[in-house]
Amino acid sequence: MPKDQPVVETSPNVSDEVRQTTCYMCACRCGINVHMKGGKVAYIEGNKDHPVNKGVLCAKGSAGIMQHNAPSRLRAPLKRVGPRGSGEYEEISWDEALETAVSWLKPIRDTAPEKLAFFTGRDQSQSFTSFWAQGYGTPNYAAHGGFCSVNMAAAGIYTMGGAFWEFGQPDWDHTKLFMLFGVAEDHDSNPIKMGIGKIKERGARMVSVNPIRTGYNAVADDWIGITPGTDGLFILSLVHCLLKAGKIDLDYLARFTNASVLIDQDPKSDQYGLFLRDKDGQPQVVDRRSGALAPWNGQGVDPDLSGSHRARGITHRPVFHMMADRYLSDDYAPETVADRCGIPAPRIHEIAADLARVAFDEAITLDRKWIDFRGVKHKQMIGRPVSFHAMRGISAHANGFQTCRALHMLQIILGTVETPGGMRFKPPYPKPATAHPKPHCKVAPGQPLDGPHLGYVQGPEDLCLDAAGDPARIDKAYTWENPMSAHGLMHMVISNAHAGDPYKIDTLFMYMANMAWNSSMNVGGVHAMLTDKDENGDYVIPRIIYSDAYSSEMVAYADLILPDTTYLERHDCISILDRPICEADGIADAIRWPVVEPDRDVRGFQSVLCDLGARLELPGFVNEDGSAKYTDYADYITNHIRRPGIGPLAGFRDGGDGRGGVNPDQLRSYIDNGGFWLSHVPEDAAYYKPFNMGYQDWAVKMGCYDVVQPYIFQLYVEPMRKFQAAAEGIGSRQPPDHLRAQVQKTMDPLPIWYPSAEAKAEDYPVHALTQRPMAMYHSWGSQNAWLRQIHGVNPLYVPTKIWEANRFADGDWAKITSPHGTITVPVAHQASLNENTVWTWNAIGKRKGAWALDNDAPEATKGFLLNHLIHELMPPKGDGLRWANSDPITGQAAWFDLRVRIEKTDTPKEVQPEMPPIKSLVPKAPKILRWKVGK
């Protein structure tokens, strides 16, 4: 070293202590190491032992220190003292806050529990919040899945017992061709990036199907810039090509799917379209060994894909014949669908050939023995190394459920689900629809609900309707409007409560969902509904309680604000009863714990619910003597028993992992183990999970379910046929006449495609989408000083064709008009884009006064939401009915069906519509940050 070279301290002290907990900067739930200095958070990095992220961490996660210290944090309970929306509040004590809540909630529980609508947004403790709501007795509970990705989840559960993300993942270690459709970035974000890195390192290929070539799509080897809303048609065209070429896994289809199950083909039969069943109710197949009927699950049965059966004058054909009849039609030929999908026909043929080549010519074999549920012994595991992944992009359309079903069908005919190189389930999935609860809605004053709110209907008899056939739930979930609404419809709650349709409510209680801004369609309309008064001068929605950690747009509309903690100040459990963090090779759950104590008068929302539950004397929250059962959420996590031997956390139980008694030191064990628990799936149980007895036995041991329950994939979803049959007049529970045609068309038991956008293409020729940036999570990112420097504005990105047609130049603005409204926003050119699609980043636009940002912050002056252009209802049809802008099967909000027209305009002072500022509920933010907690 030269003598004048300075001495650098290369081994400085990194921290006094590392505390390991779970990230909450998005929904991905990575493990983090929080480095502490002098009791303060100094640095956050990924936890290398953690099953989700294995040490890596995204921009959001690393910026957690700025979120935890954000000036937007609420500081104490608040009571509204001015008109709603004025931002006039006064700080109150927790005792006053809780007694106020009890004074509102107790009387309605005693008289009409349904008058409480309790919806919990981006909650990650739904097994707990639903337990609370069940004890309270209201049927009106759900989280945010209805406006997120319920189509993917429900289509996956009904078809194959799981979908993507929390349910399943590509076999990153073996896949040779990975095909990615549209995803929301916070859904499995780091695992997808890690997986893409892994397959690229191995030289495997990646094809992306997305109107927008950014992010993951930017690194794909091949990009298919599909027209939004046509993914289902494209997928069915691939199915057409593969069937026509016989490039399908016949053995897999016969053994592990209901392609071989027999269906009644007589339109005059009351069983038309239903499974042929034996006296035990088991669906029947033709056994190739004997040519005779046999139950699908009979020992040694060899189901025949081609075997028909005639009984009592009625022909029964296997599902597979019906699939061939439908998908071999020229309606699905590449030449027919090309223009509509925006993909040249030769390209569709090429992709089909590529899928077939990799699946069948490059098949892989693992020498692992396993035994299936029919007792058949297999020497090897055969892999079809093609994998798929999709989430929000194909879900958030009114044809999303059927499109997700189509994708699952494509995977299944290739034999790639649960085989090496394909898509793998994560425990406690696979779990078929029949193993989930059914929805419950029976209300009795002062009593708990008759069962869990959410579940999977098996036919019209399971709908949530009252004696008169009217919706039992405020969001109209599980009604003829959307029979399979497995996650509820949070996006319809405010609208329906305001309209008194199906009935009026008293108290709206929400948690962690910015329903007065980016989480609602029709934002201005929602503000009007929240502040509207009746003829007596009372608010139409009488009371609103809201819990949030931050000064969001929604808090200004609450009557009572219960301030939550940041994610570093709280207990949480990421439970197997809920939305777990398992991997295909392991079962896992995790906790958050207070790595720092709050310096404000705030409380974790779940602890507040424990307290409220006790004050309301809800079952499950009080002891026999009426005293509070749980002092806080940590107490609940440790001591709550859901079923014998099963609690919120599966690890470190008394007597073992998975099942066991309460261990008072359980949370300590989690902390000592890095904040999580993980147990590996045995090798011979790692694939073919739904059919593999080795897996089934292990899953019961681990508490995933209580009895082995092997099943086959439901290419044909019989419950859908039951709804369709009802629409055709069969059965005692009948849809209202105005919904018959919709139910008949959309509840097709085999995947179909139908155009989902209602707006006329000639008036609104351009598709408009949003994407979530990788460095932002919905509305939270803008309060983060580091992240907002990456995404502080969001222009509308315009493809070359539209850019040139409008003679746009850099810095221009445009008017964007939908059937519902007009916004005026900045535009920017992007060539790597479907030629009829514009898009922008989601939830960058902010309302003035929110999130502790200055009123002239670019998020408020140049940032915008497309939400203003989208209505929760379809334009009136003149029939006086309110038609939801949702998928008619699940009720999922059809955000991505938006169509607009675009025209150049003079540069306005700022984005339009301009909304008046709301009064900030927190002190002004600092003008400079120099963040260093150590010396």
């Binding site: 070293m1 030269p2 070279q5 300075p6 290369t10 081994s11 400085p12 640095y43 956050i44 990095e45 990924g46 040490g55 890596v56 961490l57 995204c58 921009a59 690393s62 220190i65 000036p71 990036k193 890690m194 890195g197 690229k200 993951y216 930017a218 690194v219 080897d221 990009w223 810039g225 069937l243 070429a245 016989g246 190739r288 060994r289 597979f320 061939a324 071999l328 043929h349 090429e350 050939a353 080549r357 990788m774 580091w786 992240l787 907002r788 990456i790 502080g792 060539a831 790597s832 940002l853 912050a857 002056t861 933010a925 003008k927 400079i928 940050l929 120099r930 963040w931 260093k932 907690v933």
Partner: protein
């Protein structure tokens, strides 16, 4: 004005894979977090919640569109930080000797106690890789996490730059580019790693791996048709099934 040391045998640097980088900015923020808390003055932020937020970053990701003549447009994500050049113009231009290149491993650093914040080095750097911190008034730049890579208080596996440790896609690699047998040198050789703007003669140590060709269809035989309709398909199916184990033939 400041002299460069003789070229070191050990040349520590980064290899950044443009084929894999998804543009997530994880490296940007991880760098900001580590280097705010560690080496020298914190990386400050001006107007952090206001109209014109502007902070110091040692690493930023830029995105560029490429429009091939007969193929769809592409988007390339391009992370950029100090390249630790062998002929570093930011060092030779420094009037005080604050900007220097380490003799032992080639890392270019700023000795903040000698930095007068004149900004000459930022002007001299053709890559725009240095930022003057508006609060501390000293020049900030990538240190290659010199306080991590040798840090005996860190587990050995963590002795790499924060940006490399955090990169979710594994697009960032750290090592000795002076050693032909190092993993990073082999990666550069295999993948055709290149210098950024070699014509400037700065001899950057960091290398970039180019994106693989895109939208080039794999040659693949077209699928042969086995059936035109449901009836033909049933006949094919019977033949195909009989060929399976347990079938008639």
């Amino acid at each position: 004005m400041t002299q460069l040391p003789p070229p070191s045998a050990k040349k520590l640097g980064l290899v950044i894979d443009l084929d894999t980088c998804v543009g997530c900015h994880a490296c940007v923020i991880s760098c900001k977090g580590w280097n705010t808390e560690n080496y020298g003055a914190p990386l400050s932020d001006q107007d952090p919640y206001g109209a014109d937020p502007s902070g110091t970053f040692l690493n930023r990701v830029h995105s560029f569109e490429v429009q091939p003549e007969a193929a769809p447009a592409q988007l390339i994500h391009f992370p950029k930080s100090c390249l630790h050049c062998e002929d570093a113009p930011c060092v030779t231009v420094c009037p005080t000797g604050a900007s220097y290149k380490r003799a032992e491993d080639g890392i270019v650093l700023v000795n903040e106690s000698d930095c007068i914040g004149c900004g000459l080095c930022a002007w001299a750097c053709p890559y725009g890789a240095r930022e003057l911190d508006a609060d501390a008034g000293v020049m900030k730049k990538c240190t290659l996490c010199v306080d991590r890579i040798y840090n005996e208080n860190l587990p050995e596996e963590d002795r790499e730059p924060a940006c490399v440790r955090t990169c979710p896609a594994g697009a960032r690699h750290f090592g000795d580019l002076g050693d032909d047998n190092s993993d990073v040198s082999k990666l550069v050789a295999e993948r055709g790693g290149f210098d950024l703007m070699p014509e400037l003669g700065t001899k950057p140590v960091n290398k970039y791996l180019p994106p693989r060709p895109k939208d080039v269809t794999t040659p693949c035989a077209p699928l042969e048709t086995v059936a035109q309709d449901g009836k033909g398909f049933a006949a094919w199916l019977d033949r195909a099934l009989s060929a399976l184990p347990g079938g008639a033939s």
